[in-house]
Amino acid sequence: MSEQGTSNGALVDVNGVEKVFHRGSEDIQVLRDLHLKVPAGEFLALMGPSGSGKSTLLNLIGGLDHPTRGTVTIAGERIDQLSDRRLAAWRARHVGFVFQLYNLLPVLTAERNVELPLLLTHLSKSERKKHVATALAAVGLSHRAQHYPRQLSGGEQQRVGIARAIVTDPTLLLCDEPTGDLDRKAGDEVLSLLQALNREQGKTIIMVTHDPHASARASRTVYLNKGQLTREPRD
């Protein structure tokens, strides 16, 4: 990933962001005056206790939600100002999501699940097939292409999830507790895969995790506590 189009050299620039949720008459401030820069090619781990705002921050960076205040700039583009329609197109082009519970569509085979983001492109059927095969090969699951999610182990499902996230060669990979539902062995395999994508293909990865073992694989770890970032974990 080149530095072109980045904001002040950072691929991700979160500047003075606040996020407030309204529940009835109550306002819940989840993020407060948050600043974060992530250079291109970095593998960043985002840690913090439950309710600290990790997933909310990830959603803002991934264009799934809008900040109450502040700006979110990705590869030089202010995504906090985009309309829902443009944001959807932006996500399709720039972001790959990996979820804790894999979130594969149970009615589609692994191959069809991976193909989903490509349906939003102008690629022909044969080109899509080629891209899907490449992505499945990258996660070591070419032989499981025709299997449905229920026929795959948790680790395999998560690898299909990663294949789906990288099949469009996105600018940014956002992983929300990618090993949270896996045993240690399967979790290690997934982390190794993410690490390889970061080191060998230069993918910029932001990973939310509770697990210090997982964060140890990242090139940098930041901590979120009560809606603010710290360099060190706090109680």
Binding site: G62, A88, F97, F99, L108
Partner: protein
């Protein structure tokens, strides 16, 4: 397409049951359309240039045969002929069909939709006891030209007191259009009038052909005025209205069928709507994932609508197909509903209904899917 099929097949039992209920609704639609066609179809086939003149009090009151001469003199009248209700059965009361005495050449001239070969027409003109039978009835009773057929009248006795009449089948007529009734039998009025014990010189009703269709209402008024204050006052109306009044004896067919179909489709609307809504609610998380991947609101709307439309159109097509097959076997009553078939325009209406059903049932869940907030839906997984 894989996604749409996959979603429909996710809960196979639920989808199959919903599909079955849609199929049943459209089979019912087809059947009711065929019944409606059978009971009111004659209205559309009625000649626009033909008027029916009957006794003012009711159709069962007779009119004098010499009215014909007076009607022919009325301006705008091109031709006049008459028929009389014979009310006979063949062998068994369930073998009921229409038989009327007519004047052969006048009758055929008045009804060009009934096609009779020239040599059979000649045979009819030569044979006093001759009768021509419609194709459906000839096939039903396996009658052929040359057969002698006994008909038991419920109204008319012969001079010897017998109600059993015997006719020679001299011709079999075909219908020019699908709508033409080919279940009737027509025999000669001169033979009938001479042989019957009572009612001589009287006929059931007249059919008038007018010179100009636009003048039909005016001619009808003139006819009724001609016989006003006589012992046999008349009521003249368009043939279509006459047939409609005949059908209305068993009720307003259109209203009855519309009411039944309305109730059926309202129920189907709820059943299908519930299936689609439930299906969308169950996969809120998955829809959230699709949105996260980059599917737009419009694409989410289209995805859910495609599912509901596929389900409704599939059920509709199968139902209409089954109805078509069942009704194409013809009149299930063995003669009471001679025009029983599923009209092509109703098939098209049914197809449009099925699409509308899909759109209406899918709209609300589709809007729900469209308005889903990604972050919220992902939290609900």
């Amino acid at each position: 397409m894989h996604l749409i099929w996959g979603n429909l097949l996710r809960k196979k039992t639920r989808t199959v049951l919903t599909l079955l209920s849609i199929i049943v609704a459209f089979v019912l639609f087809g059947f009711l359309s065929a019944i409606k066609q059978a009971l009111t179809g004659g209205v559309s086939l009625a000649g626009a240039n033909r008027l029916i003149v009957r006794h003012k009090i009711s159709i069962i009151q007779l009119l004098p045969v010499d009215y014909k001469r007076r009607m022919e003199k009325i301006p705008g009248v091109a031709a006049v002929t008459h028929q009389t209700w014979f009310g006979g059965i063949y062998q068994d009361p369930k073998n009921f069909f229409m038989q009327n005495p007519v004047i052969p050449d006048e009758f055929l001239d008045m009804h060009p939709e009934m096609l009779l070969p020239a040599e059979q027409k000649q045979a009819w003109l030569k044979t006093r006891t001759g009768a021509v039978v419609g194709r459906k009835t000839a096939d039903r009773f396996h009658w052929k030209v040359g057969d002698k057929v006994p008909i038991q009248s419920s109204i008319w006795s012969k001079k010897d007191g017998s109600f059993l009449w015997e006719f020679d089948v001299v011709g079999i007529y075909e219908g020019r259009d699908k709508n033409t009734d080919t279940t009737a039998m027509f025999f000669r009025y001169d033979f009938f009038d001479e042989a019957r014990r009572g009612g001589t010189g009287q006929v059931g009703w007249y059919t008038i052909r007018v010179n100009d269709t636009a003048q039909a209402a005016e001619v009808a008024k003139l006819v009724d005025a001609e016989f006003e204050n006589s012992s046999y006052e008349t009521k003249t109306e368009a043939e279509g209205a006459f047939v409609q009044a005949w059908a209305k004896q068993i009720g307003d067919i259109a209203l009855i069928t519309a009411s039944i179909l309305g109730a059926v489709f309202f129920t189907i609307l709820l059943v299908t709507g519930n299936t689609i809504s439930q299906s969308v609610r169950e996969r809120t998380g998955e829809l959230g994932v699709l949105k996260a991947i980059g599917f737009t609101n419009a694409q989410m709307l289209a995805l859910v609508l495609a599912e509901s439309c596929l389900l409704a159109v599939l059920g509709g097509m199968v139902g209409l197909g089954v109805a078509w097959l069942l009704t194409s076997r013809g009149d299930p009553t063995g003669g009471m509903l001679p025009l029983f078939f599923f009209p092509a325009h109703d098939v098209l209406t049914g197809a449009a209904f099925s699409l509308a059903l899909g759109l209406v049932t899918g709209l609300f869940p589709a809007l729900q899917a469209m308005r889903l907030r990604v972050a919220d839906s992902l939290r609900r997984i």
